[in-house]
Amino acid sequence: MDVLLESKSITKQFGGLAALQDVSFELNKGEIFSIIGPNGAGKTTFFNCVTGLYPPTSGSLYFQGENINGIAPYNITKLGIARTFQNIRLFAEMTALENVMVGMHCRTDSGVLSALVRHKGMVREESTIADTAMSLLKFVGLQDKQDSWARNLAYGDQRRLEIARAMATKPTLLCLDEPGAGMNPQETNELMNLIRKIKAQGITILLIEHHMKVVMGISDRIVVLDHGVKIAEGNCKDIQCNQKVIEAYLGKEEN
């Protein structure tokens, strides 16, 4: 299988605290790969390193064979990595449709002059943007909400809108940071279906999730972090039986 993302001993330190220590793994094209671990394990920090928000202290990240250390976040998005946020970060005062349209920014190129002149190419591009954004809203099931302000959407809808917005950047790798947080069982099921649908489009998914039902239900492989250290890697079954993982989550059995 082709390796899409390779993490080579990534370390990220905040002052004296090592949020990530020597984390290495490979992510194959087309799989759903989950990162799990207790709170503060460094999962989101890893996402921030991948998407260029923090440069790793040491180690390298390779995306499609290219070293992406130190590349600005917007250029990383252009390379094909998109993400959602654990604490929803939509553009609150834009409509749902506009949010998704913003996601297409890096795949389109009308500048100020074309905006002012409104030549044919720009008008065509705008309507392509709107159409694509609309079909993405449909894809995540928000077709009725196109004109709603993002901040007025229900919580679950906001999560799905974030996914649609990330998909608008036409990613090869989609990083989902706790997409199921705060969802009820029915919404969780819908989310699992949505993630499977995204995978079916050939998009590789890197998932951080606390809902074990989601993780175990859809992941092809899982890596477990604890205090910034990788403690296990494998398929769902391996992880469930792994002694270290059980200890990290439940504590050590005293005998």
Binding site: L53, L90, M94, H105, A115, M122, E126, A130
Partner: protein, 407 residues
């Protein structure tokens, strides 16, 4: 914000007490002090009634925004998904018609007032790009205005540069300065950016003031050393030196500015700017180069001030550094905020009100001259209390203010 009625008399009393030294005491020419209570009481009562009215009726000026809603209709997004198809409303047509035949009814000083108001509308709209759209607080906008005016004045006096070329030069020079100031200062946020731009505005004025050989120093341009005339615009053999030409020129200028702003607002770049304003980090991870966008807004905004400066210099024919003080920056910003940040129509209304009302007081009611700034300040306070989103709020700003209150 909801006004609790028990506080209304308190506001009135508070206002009266606070303004007593300004309104109630008057130094006469013969150095005697006169205490005058009547304006103070009138002020307090007016404020009381006004506050009570606005609080009670909950009208809160919506009749104004309703009346003007129609005018905002054209120049909508090109995509059908976002809004109803553009329809040029009758109100807009009538307004334009009225403005086109207005010069026939205006004489000397009123014509001048109309032109100056137009220039300030252009300035306020230009500032709106950076304040309303990109959400960056700029306090030294008069600096860019000055750069445009001086660039054209110098080019015209030294090299005989014609107006239309000067317009490009003024805009370009101002844009370059916008870029140079923006590059380092856009790393800063909010208040810090405001302070840097405030410093810039003052710096520019002092530079012009202290280069007597080049800019004429305090004497301004043209002066006895740098003689000549700042050229009026020309079309072929016609020299457009009469106020009426300036009136139509300014009118076209305002229309072009409005079109530019609306088109920018409803474009890929406009969306990116709003996204950066809303959440810079999320915008960056969505593939938007936030720094580039902010600099773009800054440069565009500066260029617009430059254009307005050229127009102003040509119209007035004589410029001094004192024409570009911090008061001007503050006034333009006040126009944007009072009118409604991000709302083109609101900003125009804000500019009209804030330029014309002080003028009327100066010209028609000299007795109130002393209270001009006081009225101005009180208006601002009242606006922020009762209608923080401005006279005509942009649809986005409205969401922000109403929603956060409910939470």
């Amino acid at each position: 914000m909801k006004l609790s009625f028990s506080k209304v008399p308190m506001y009135a009393l508070w206002f009266t007490v606070l303004t007593f030294p300004l309104v109630g005491i008057r130094m006469m020419d013969d150095k005697t002090v006169q205490f005058r209570l009547s304006p103070l009481i009138i002020g307090g009562v007016v404020l009381f009634i006004g506050a009570l009215y606005m609080g009670l009726s909950r009208v809160k000026f919506t009749f104004i925004s309703d009346a003007f809603k129609g005018i905002a209709a054209p120049l909508k997004p090109v995509t059908a998904g976002l809004a109803k198809p553009p329809a040029i409303k009758i109100e807009l047509f009538l307004l334009c018609l009225f403005l086109l035949i207005l010069p026939a009814m205006l004489s000397g000083k009123y014509m001048n007032l109309a032109i100056d108001t137009g220039i300030y509308i252009v300035l306020a709209l230009g500032l709106n790009i950076v304040v309303g759209l990109a959400g960056l607080l700029v306090l030294g906008y008069a600096g860019f205005f000055a750069i445009g005016a001086y660039a054209y004045a110098l080019a015209s006096l030294n090299f005989g540069c014609p107006f239309w070329l000067g317009l490009l030069i003024g805009g370009a020079v101002s844009a370059v300065f916008g870029f140079l100031v923006g590059l380092p200062s856009l790393r800063l946020r909010g208040d810090y950016l405001a302070i840097v731009t405030l410093g810039f505005g003052e710096l520019i004025r002092y530079i012009f003031k202290n280069l007597p050989n080049i800019t004429g120093g305090e004497k301004g341009l043209p002066n006895e050393l740098i003689r000549g005339e700042i050229h009026h615009p020309t079309i072929g053999p016609w020299v457009l030196s009469q106020p009426i030409y300036y009136y139509y020129l300014t009118f076209i200028f305002v229309v072009v500015t409005v079109v530019v702003l609306e088109r920018l607002n409803n474009s890929r770049i406009g969306r990116a700017l709003i996204a950066v304003r809303e959440d810079e980090l999320a915008a960056r991870t969505m593939g938007i180069n936030a720094t580039k966008m902010k600099i773009l807004a800054f440069v565009l905004s500066a260029a617009w001030a430059g254009f307005a400066g050229v127009l102003y210099a040509a119209k007035i024919g004589y410029i001094t550094p004192e024409g570009f003080r911090f008061e001007q920056s503050a006034l333009i910003l006040a126009m944007v905020i009072l009118g409604g940040m991000g709302s083109t129509l609101g900003v125009i209304l804000g500019a009209v009100i804030l330029y014309i009302i002080p003028w009327i007081i100066r010209d028609q009611l000299p007795a109130f001259q002393d209270y001009r700034l006081l009225i101005y300040g009180a208006t601002m306070v009242l606006m922020m209390l009762f209608r923080p989103q401005g006279l005509i709020s942009s649809k986005r700003r409205k969401i922000e203010l109403t929603e956060t209150e409910e939470k």
